[in-house]
């Protein structure tokens, strides 16, 4: 363990405030639970953990860290979602009227309703076994990746702010402003291949960074609450783009709808697998962004300072870290990432600017970051999962008539259950290896003043 990490741990140990600490405490709870059924509760002790943690690479952490709780949480959520689908299914309701005469009818109908919906979801998001050719079969997977791209980028922005103790609900507005600037460069400037796309990306980054930078600046200078600021700026951004789309500079010539001209071909992300698929280079950019954020958080001075500010602003200030500068920096970077999500939308998937360019990616990004426990690769994985839900949800709705809203229910249940490992453990009657230690861990974070 490097000195930096040791220092950081001390910082977080002495933390009294800051949400991130509690998050981390909760995350550490999960760390020790790699294989709870195999390891008796008594055999694990808190002292083991540092060594364990040291030897863990980021990848291992994702694969093993909270794996069991995460998997069980997903299963529980899918089960509850399935119940909801079954209860609202007509055939189930019909067979329920003679439930006591032939219970198997209703149970069968319920099973069919739920499993059909989930099979369609899988078919629409991962692999379509009914496809005519191989490319048709894997088409759903590329759709998932396409949808996941903005989710990952924006999710990284939210996660990064979270690590610095800021709750960034403003990804929605940041995506919109990033997309607006990017789209404007994309359709009103006419530049050679390569340069044009580069400028589009930069414009998107600047747009998002500016919009989030306002929040960081106001938070740092006036102490205004970032939750309020970001929520308000979301609405301002939406109205701003609605207005811009009625002006000659942005509105498509000859159209009375609020829609921009098509972006130039030179401004678009090239498609990754040719015309048959919608997946574009934005996904590669998302992967690069994840690597960058990982490096930033874990290997750079800025990242260290951000985490210190998030863990305990007072301690960070005492240690000579400028908290105000930290807030501005983290919001600017978070906004830049959300801006990338906007670029992925206008230069990749959509190709035009509309007021609905951000869809609900900005809000989904929050759940993505929460599910990913604010780690870069966790967010990446969560983005893929939610991308799959979204892409598959569309297929599910058309194939089985199950409303896509069920996806929202399942997604939020997953986050809720993963955030409360004790609940999942008690439902599945798992031993609670973290119970004792978790208490001890949590204490400094939550009741620090008691010492």
């Amino acid at each position: 363990m490097s000195n930096e990490q040791k220092h950081e741990r001390q910082l977080s140990r002495s933390a009294a405030h800051g949400d991130e600490v509690r998050l981390e405490a909760a995350a550490e709870l999960g760390d020790g639970t790699q294989a709870p059924p195999a390891v008796p509760a008594g055999a694990q002790s808190g002292e083991l953990r540092p060594e364990l943690r040291e030897s863990q690479t980021v990848l291992q952490k994702i694969m093993t860290g909270n794996a069991l709780v995460a998997v069980l949480a997903v299963i529980m959520s899918l089960f509850l979602g399935g119940l909801l689908i079954a209860f609202t299914d007509e055939r189930v309701a019909n067979s329920a009227s003679y439930f006591f005469a032939r219970p198997s009818d209703m149970l069968g109908a319920a099973w069919t309703a739920a499993s059909d919906a989930y099979l369609a979801l899988f078919q629409g998001s991962v692999f379509n076994w009914e496809g005519e050719s191989f490319s048709r079969m894997v088409y759903p997977l590329t759709q998932t990746l396409t949808v996941a791209t903005p989710l990952i980028c924006a999710g990284l922005g939210v996660a990064l702010a979270f690590r610095a103790g800021l709750f960034n609900i403003g990804a929605q507005g940041q995506i919109i402003i990033g997309a607006t600037l990017a789209a404007w460069v994309g359709f009103s400037w006419h530049l050679p291949v390569g340069l044009h796309l580069l400028l589009v990306i930069i414009a998107g980054i600047i747009g998002g960074a500016l919009w989030a930078g306002i929040v960081g600046l106001l938070k740092a200078k006036t102490g205004a609450h970032e939750v309020i600021l970001t929520i308000m700026l979301n609405y301002v951004a939406l109205n701003l783009v609605l207005y811009l789309l009625t002006t000659p500079a942005f509105q498509r010539p000859g159209s009375s709808n609020p829609i921009s001209p098509q972006l130039d071909e030179t401004a678009r992300y090239p498609l990754l697998f040719g015309e048959g698929f919608r997946l574009h280079w934005g996904f590669i950019v998302a992967i690069l962004a994840t690597v960058l954020v990982w490096w930033l958080l874990n290997r750079s001075t800025i990242g260290f300072e951000l985490r210190a500010v998030g863990a305990n602003p007072t301690a960070a200030r005492t240690a000579g870290i400028s908290v105000t500068k930290g807030y501005v920096t983290v919001m600017v970077i978070a906004g830049a990432l959300a801006g990338l999500a906007g670029v992925a939308q206008v230069a990749g998937t959509e190709g035009v600017l509309t007021s609905g360019v951000a869809a609900s990616f900005g809000f989904d990004a929050i759940t993505v970051a929460l599910l990913g426990r604010s780690t870069p690769w966790g967010t990446f994985a969560a983005g893929l999962l939610f991308g799959a839900f979204r892409a598959g949800g569309v297929t599910m709705q058309t194939a089985t008539g199950t409303s896509i809203d069920i996806v929202l229910v399942v997604q939020s249940l997953i986050v809720l259950f993963i955030a409360a490992p004790p609940l999942v453990r008690s439902v599945f009657r798992l031993p609670e290896p973290g119970a004792l230690r978790g208490r001890r861990n949590r204490k400094p974070a939550t009741a620090g003043g008691a010492a």
Partner: protein
């Protein structure tokens, strides 16, 4: 370690207050200069009419007619003077008084109204309608922010206001339609709000999950759940499931005939009257009863409260559930009073605005009430003005409430401080 944590709040607040000292005058100056440029120099040259009563009202007051440039200049001069005076006050090391901010706000709104109505195609505004509509739009916001007050005063952050409102609206619609009685709908809304609150309480108090996370996720969950049931059950047979009876306004004789304030105070639906009662009860309860003292103690310093025998987590639990009941009433307003059917995501972010009103109102029931009224006013102003045909694009008017909030939380709120233990779970020992 204890030293570090003990000094933490003081160190934080001292730096913040140093910054805050100057931000109010700066913000006032910016607004005053904007007022000078727009309301005074950019004033339209015509007269502006403000109607105080409708012609059909029992008591008819004469309309107020003012000259736009004269009013604009008066307002701008007063605003500039107020800003200058606040600079002098801060320079002398004294705080900017609250009444100055109130005067500033009144003149700013007056100047803005005169300017914007004067520039409209028809420079004639029905002030009574504007005010009454503002209160109507503010009712759910007030319930929402009161829910936030109850939660956050006891130390639990309530981001789930949006979910409580939405689920309340949904339950009121279903129960009202099935039973045919609006009162059953009202009761169902209360229960629904409590249900959302119960999840918030269990996860944030029992399982010590980050309260902001639970709140955000609950909003998504309720949105998904109601959206799903709306598209599967409700739209299939909306006559059975989604046609709740409406709660008609009840006008109190004589009193409701008073010009301007009569319709606002004495011609409301039951939910509207309940809103006034809730504000009063929660205000008195919070500051003048044993329960209120305990609630505030638990939110500020749970350890001290625990030491004198207050059950911290039980108090929080009750308060969160109570908050759900209050927000549920606000939700019922959407489906039983405002429109008589449920729509997907019909609360449209009002819960978040209520959250802003709560912070703007400094975690005080009365403050939250007035802040919510301000939002209702700004929202209603937008729809009234777009009807009048102003030169300002509609989208900018729609931004108004949000921009006002940003200015408010950044510059005018003053020493807004959350309850000290807000968001920090209490673990005994």
């Amino acid at each position: 370690m204890s030293a570090a944590t003990l000094t933490a709040p003081e160190a934080g607040s001292s730096t913040v207050s140093e910054v805050r000292n100057w931000k109010t005058p700066v913000m006032l100056a910016v607004l005053a200069v904007a007022a000078l440029l727009v309301f005074a120099i950019g004033a339209p040259s015509n007269n502006v009419t403000f109607r105080l009563t409708a012609e059909s009202d029992p008591i008819v007051l004469p309309a107020i007619v003012v000259s736009a440039p004269v009013t604009g200049w008066i307002c701008a001069v007063v605003l500039l003077a107020a800003a200058a005076w606040s600079f002098l006050r801060v320079r002398a090391g004294r705080p900017v008084p609250g009444w100055l901010l109130a005067v500033f706000a009144v003149f700013f709104v007056a100047g803005f109204l005169t300017w914007v109505v004067g520039s409209a195609r028809t420079p004639n505004l029905a002030l009574y309608g504007l005010l009454a509509g503002s209160v109507t739009l503010a009712v759910p916001l007030i319930f929402g922010s009161l829910s936030g007050v109850l939660c956050e005063r006891s130390g639990v952050i309530n981001i789930a206001i949006e979910g409580q409102l939405l689920f309340g609206a949904f339950a009121a619609a279903i129960a009202g339609s099935l039973s045919g009685s609006a009162f059953v709908g009202l009761l169902a809304a209360v229960i629904a709000g409590v249900m959302v609150s119960a999840v918030l309480a269990v996860f944030s108090i029992k399982y010590i999950v980050n309260q902001v996370i639970v709140g955000v996720v609950l909003n998504v969950l309720v949105s998904g759940l109601t959206g799903f049931l709306f598209s599967t059950v409700m739209s299939a047979d909306s006559a059975t499931w989604n046609s709740p009876p409406r709660l008609a306004p009840i006008s109190i004789p004589v009193l409701s005939d008073i010009p301007v304030i009569g319709p606002i105070l004495f011609e409301q639906s039951i939910v509207g009257y309940l809103m006034y009662i809730a504000v009063a009860v929660i205000y008195v309860g919070l500051y003048h009863t044993k329960w209120g003292l305990r609630t505030r103690a638990v939110g500020e310093h749970p350890k001290a409260a625990d030491t004198v025998g207050v059950k911290v987590n039980r108090t929080r639990f009750t308060n969160v559930l109570l908050a759900g009941a209050v927000a549920g009433l606000g939700g019922a307003f959407f489906t039983l009073v405002l429109v008589s059917s449920f729509g997907r995501d019909m609360t449209a972010g009002q819960g978040y605005i209520a959250l802003a009103a709560l912070i703007f109102g400094r975690w005080n029931p009365l403050g939250a009430f007035f802040a919510a009224l301000l939002f209702g006013f700004a929202t209603n102003l937008q729809s009234v003005l777009s009807f009048l045909g102003t030169p300002v694009p509609n989208q900018f008017l729609a931004m108004l409430p949000y921009v006002v909030t940003i200015f408010a939380v950044a510059g005018l709120v003053g020493k807004s401080r959350a309850p000290a233990s807000n968001g920090i779970p209490y673990i005994k020992g």
